[in-house]
Symmetry: C2
Subunit: 874 residues, 2 copies
Amino acid sequence: MTCPTTKPGMLNVHLLPHTHDDVGWLKTVDQYYYGILSDVQHASVQYILDSVIASLLKNPARRFIYVEMAFFSRWWKHQSSVTQDTVRNLVRQGRLEFVNGGWVMNDEAATHYGAIVDQMTLGLRFLQDTFGSDGLPRVAWHIDPFGHSREQASLFAQMGFDGFFLGRIDYQDKSNRKKMLKMEELWRASESLKPPAADLFTGVLPNNYNPPKDLCWDVLCTDPPIVDDPQSPEFNAKKLVNYFLKLASSQKKYYRTNHTVMTMGSDFQYENANMWFKNMDKLIRLVNEQYLRSVKKDDFFPYADGPHMFWTGYFSSRPALKRYERLSYNFLQVCNQLEALVGPRANVGPYGSGDSAPLKEAMAVLQHHDAVSGTAKQNVVNDYAKQLAAGWGPCEVLVSNALARLSQSKQNFSFCRELNISICPVSQTSEQFRVTLYNPLGRKVDRMVRLPVGDGNFFVKDPNNKSVPSNVVMVPSSYSKTYQWELLFPASVPALGFSTYSVTKVSGRNYQAGNLLGWLRKPKSRVLVIENKYIRATFDSGTGLLMKIENLEQNLSLDVSQGFFWYNASTGDGKSSQASGAYIFRPGGRRPRPVSRWAQISFVKTDLVQEVHQNFSAWCSQVIRLYKGQRHLELEWTVGPIPVNDYWGKEVISRFDTPMKTKGQFFTDSNGREILKRRDDYRPTWTLNQTEPVAGNYYPVNTRIYITLMVHRRLLVDDQRGVGEALLETDTGDKVRGRHLVILSSVSDAAARHRLLAEQEVLAPQMVLAQGSSSPYRSQAAPKMQFSGLRQELPPQVHLLTLARWSSKMLLLRLEHQFAVNEDSNRNLSSPVTLNVEGPISYPAPSTLDPTSVTLRPMEIRTFLASVQWQEAN
Amino acid sequence: MTCPTTKPGMLNVHLLPHTHDDVGWLKTVDQYYYGILSDVQHASVQYILDSVIASLLKNPARRFIYVEMAFFSRWWKHQSSVTQDTVRNLVRQGRLEFVNGGWVMNDEAATHYGAIVDQMTLGLRFLQDTFGSDGLPRVAWHIDPFGHSREQASLFAQMGFDGFFLGRIDYQDKSNRKKMLKMEELWRASESLKPPAADLFTGVLPNNYNPPKDLCWDVLCTDPPIVDDPQSPEFNAKKLVNYFLKLASSQKKYYRTNHTVMTMGSDFQYENANMWFKNMDKLIRLVNEQYLRSVKKDDFFPYADGPHMFWTGYFSSRPALKRYERLSYNFLQVCNQLEALVGPRANVGPYGSGDSAPLKEAMAVLQHHDAVSGTAKQNVVNDYAKQLAAGWGPCEVLVSNALARLSQSKQNFSFCRELNISICPVSQTSEQFRVTLYNPLGRKVDRMVRLPVGDGNFFVKDPNNKSVPSNVVMVPSSYSKTYQWELLFPASVPALGFSTYSVTKVSGRNYQAGNLLGWLRKPKSRVLVIENKYIRATFDSGTGLLMKIENLEQNLSLDVSQGFFWYNASTGDGKSSQASGAYIFRPGGRRPRPVSRWAQISFVKTDLVQEVHQNFSAWCSQVIRLYKGQRHLELEWTVGPIPVNDYWGKEVISRFDTPMKTKGQFFTDSNGREILKRRDDYRPTWTLNQTEPVAGNYYPVNTRIYITLMVHRRLLVDDQRGVGEALLETDTGDKVRGRHLVILSSVSDAAARHRLLAEQEVLAPQMVLAQGSSSPYRSQAAPKMQFSGLRQELPPQVHLLTLARWSSKMLLLRLEHQFAVNEDSNRNLSSPVTLNVEGPISYPAPSTLDPTSVTLRPMEIRTFLASVQWQEAN
């Protein structure tokens, strides 16, 4: 940050004037921006920015840092060009400085790294476009998220930040760091990237992000301002200055340098910046930061702010919103790619005006640490969902325009947004329809398509007009009160391209080959088995529970029992008044209760799928499924509405019991990317005093692993962390369905399996339906039923992280090596890989500076801007 | 106010941006100014003014009005000369305008008109000195006081205001005015002054002083700001504009012109003025006011804001503070006069630096409508008292310097501030001491001096060294636990001058002539009589109560019984939840309960005084007294601490029962000046629906009359008017003593009696004691024991309202005709009177423009600035 000259040999106190503006929490984003609903929370960002700018202008010595571009960019749009010029000057002079600079200050537990990169891009790009290099932040600033992932630090390091400031870390960790003078250290945030690529100076702020006690001079505070008139009965200047000096030197004790920082601001402060600045003007002596030597390699999860107060509940809070965020990430990448592939004709086309910007912004907003984290108020959560939904619309138009262009045909495209509840009018009512699948990955995918249909027979044809086998199977009885059917057929979609399948209904109950009808049946023997070429899963027909999984290829077998349990959410007890809530997970006891010790089961077996349907209770059921050719077992659970009429909040988990000897060790991903080793009741950098044997061992999981997984929660009391509402979702959030994919594999093969599977789950093919057949579009040529945007598939190591339009003549391209060092020994996928991005010919010894030849080392992300010229239709 | 051009034929909506800054209420003045104790009330005037100025600078179309000079002048002092110049420009351009412009917005019920004039002078003078004529307010603005006195309107008219805006008037009155289109009318505020001298355009604001519902855009409000972005889910601009227009036209219906006003602001608003202005900028269309025709002649007391909600409690709330304010008024006039008479040597002299400014400012602050009204929080009341006490100090030095100068002697002056509790170390312990009495009136006064002394004999000598009769009498047993004595002697003090008396203690119990010792005795016959040449009062020895008063001069006799009663303060009942509190008087029933049906009595009779001491209870006693030569009966009551351990709040009254046939009519003064006729259960301008037969007939009384008088109150619950504290004084306020002076007189003589008596009570001689004898000061001449600042006494019609130094070469002089027209028929005191202010020779036909000859008509106040040159000591 831009500070006045420091004084060596003296204690330098850095006063950091800042405001922390949540992009939604107790109020929606628009309510915060304008300052609506002041009775819910007094907070208005428009006034904060008005006020800060005015105050900065009054005294050139004043400084301010601003963080959230979701708000700043909106405010900027509303300013006159005179004001904009004034602000540009302030930024140039370092009087207004941006830190972090993302669209939001994203959550670090429930976010996927791709979405983090996207939201940072949106914010930083706004700054670059508006202020040039003057506006680019030098430090990252995550002063409110509830724990910190290593991946976040790695990403920030790779983005070029000089430092990273944290607010919340575990209270024991912090106390230890103070003692050991480790409040500042170097974070080595990747085991794969070569230092210093993922090294980042990381400082823990002394008082989270709040001002020191008694020195909060905001309209939202009640601390007395400095009264420097000795005649006034309220004269306090002398006392306050003494206090401040004492505070600074006692705080300095925990840091190695002669520098100590005080965060002068907090949530939505500086609405009347004059109050702050007028009082701080008397105290300001800002100086520069210095670096330190100790190194951190793990992360800051889980976060506890006191005994029994583990912020591990939000890893699972509002699973429906979390799922919607992931679906939207998937769809946004599709939308971005098609915009990049097709160019301006994707934006203006036969379906109207298509636009990726609203979904980009909505997705960026969803990364906020009270959004995808599930810790906002219910009405704010509803608004987040609404923002996503509003973003989908113009992206659907864009995708339609692009597909029309690429396929050279105009179809009645229809996006079935309600497939999760088996609703899709086109497939359910049409005699004939087309299914176009777009694959956003750099490699071809094979996938089972599943669509709700009316009871009947269907013919399915592939892009080459060849017949494809299909089944119609019954959905679980718990899904629907009436009989309900879904059509199944295997599809194959080329890299960065689409395939179009045609489906025709055959009237009458005409059971012919390739269209087997799968009726639900009751098991008759003691054990029930589902299997395919690769996997066998065995169930106990008596209890209805999974007993064993076998990997038939590798000849592995694991006894495993799986079922659903719930913890009685604590509402406080003798040890602590802490309740379980949106943030905090605190089970009432160590042992969860089973939802049921057994499940009613039935099964479906066709040539394409084998499923066991388990019904645990009126509000808890599961389908365990094996598709033909699938190498993992899929467990699709449906939980909710969780009953709370006994006045007990419930935290529902899916538990896998196995006889594996793990010594309490397990592994979890970091924002869906690198993997961290965990150990029960253990922290790598300090001696843990474990106060919560369950909650204190929860870690965020985005894409992989676990032994117990919390799936849904419904709570009756607030956990006193500010949201002021019990996590008691009704309506959209009360009943949730999710899937767990289980891989049983040898160590040598595991990484290849879970990396490539996760990629396919996160970036699944996008399905677009169209009634009837297609009509030609802008050409007399026959419609294209299949397309790929790549001349050659990407090798399995390489993930196409981003392909999006950057400007009218530029594309943004991010390529990522998606394996860590030493992760894959089977196929050598953990080695560096070199791509020729221009054509099929690879140069023998490519320079890393040669843009046509790109070498990626394990876990490396490389970003490119490429000139582009879109071809007119051939 | 300075408004843009209006549009004839259209509805013109005047948006009036304003802040209402109480000079003390829930917080002290300094706490409000700086913004201390935000948890008590979020309010900080320093930030309000900072913010308003900044916002005005942003847009030349913006306007603001400011009211309270106590705050503004302080803020002004803290500004740089650059800011001061900027503000001067804003004032010159009419963008910042002052209204009212007094030091405070004074209370209208409990204030004395002299103090009102003083506090307005302090504020207006600051404006004149700072901004010249640009700064002078054109309208008066009393939008919060709890009822409005006619005298206030008269004074404002005489000060030259063009209009007067009111906020609070009785809800029935307001409803009637709306119906009758009398929300604006001409107030003819004096029956004596010739129209239009006391005529003032008076407008009742539509919504007290608050913004219309839903249009409050302050940091303290929760109304949504205008969202004019149609894309925002919070878009509301259209709805708000429609609402505003509807509101304006429905509001306009109650006014006769095409103009309607909306007060855009409230208590301590505009701390972040940008919020208000940013939203108002979209709505502003300011226009000019117009006058109306109907005429009001009465006042706006009592004020009720709903059935059962009469704001008549504050007439008596905190009687100790009210008394202290009156004493301070008296002392300030003495201080002012001596400063004027002596010049700079009063400020710097043998006693140090004397200064009248602190007491002037403290007294101005005390006029605030939450100060002398008794409606501030207890700690704020304590601060008010502290401010007065702090003001007394430098005035005492000034008075000492002045008396030394005028008497040409230096004495050990001592100001006995605790005479009310019979404490004065000098008189109680000295063998010899002097008593100097300064008389601030334009006429000589004769007065009984009363000083606490030790038991013994005293010789008293007058200024001419002649012996003066004196008595030592016992004080009532209820005053003190031990025997306690007070010395009495008659003194005479010349106009605007002083007399010094010498007192010498005679050792031993030497009962000699002129020093009769008055022991308390018990009555022995059935009736007890006290009397002097003019009055006889008769008591029933059985009940101990007053039975009869006789005017021996006029041969009048009135049966009158007097005693103390209390109302059980309502805490709400079935009719209304309204409780009695600091503002509201609401007795629990119509009939008060007697403190006691009888009193224990004893009496004192000496040649100088006759007293009956009544003891009603442990916390209620009274002395009824007749001094030699006194034409009124004095009733000095002592009440408190009012017991509330029965959990009943109590409102204690002194009730006079007489067989007089008054038809419910009575008369009360208006701020101690003109008199208004009252009638039980009646309002002159509308048909009253009386909901509170007791509280609804209470009127403020400052100097005269009544049938029942509330003397003290102690309440256990708050009355929900914002102060948030029960009126439950402890410590300084719990025990209070007061005096009622009763005159029994013929109508023709009454005015002369009560006018001149009130004048003497309000401006009593100031007593200064000095131990030992005097030493010469700056001259070898003998000390002067007597002095008068006037060559000739003023005639009885003329009251010297103000004599004070205005500047180093100017004096401020206010002369007042203190009789109303037709009030005195006996001595023709209600006629105009002409004074020659230069010398004893009166011109035969003086022009009113001739400054040396001043004609005063009944109730007229005339103000002069006079050049002055102080003589060096002769």
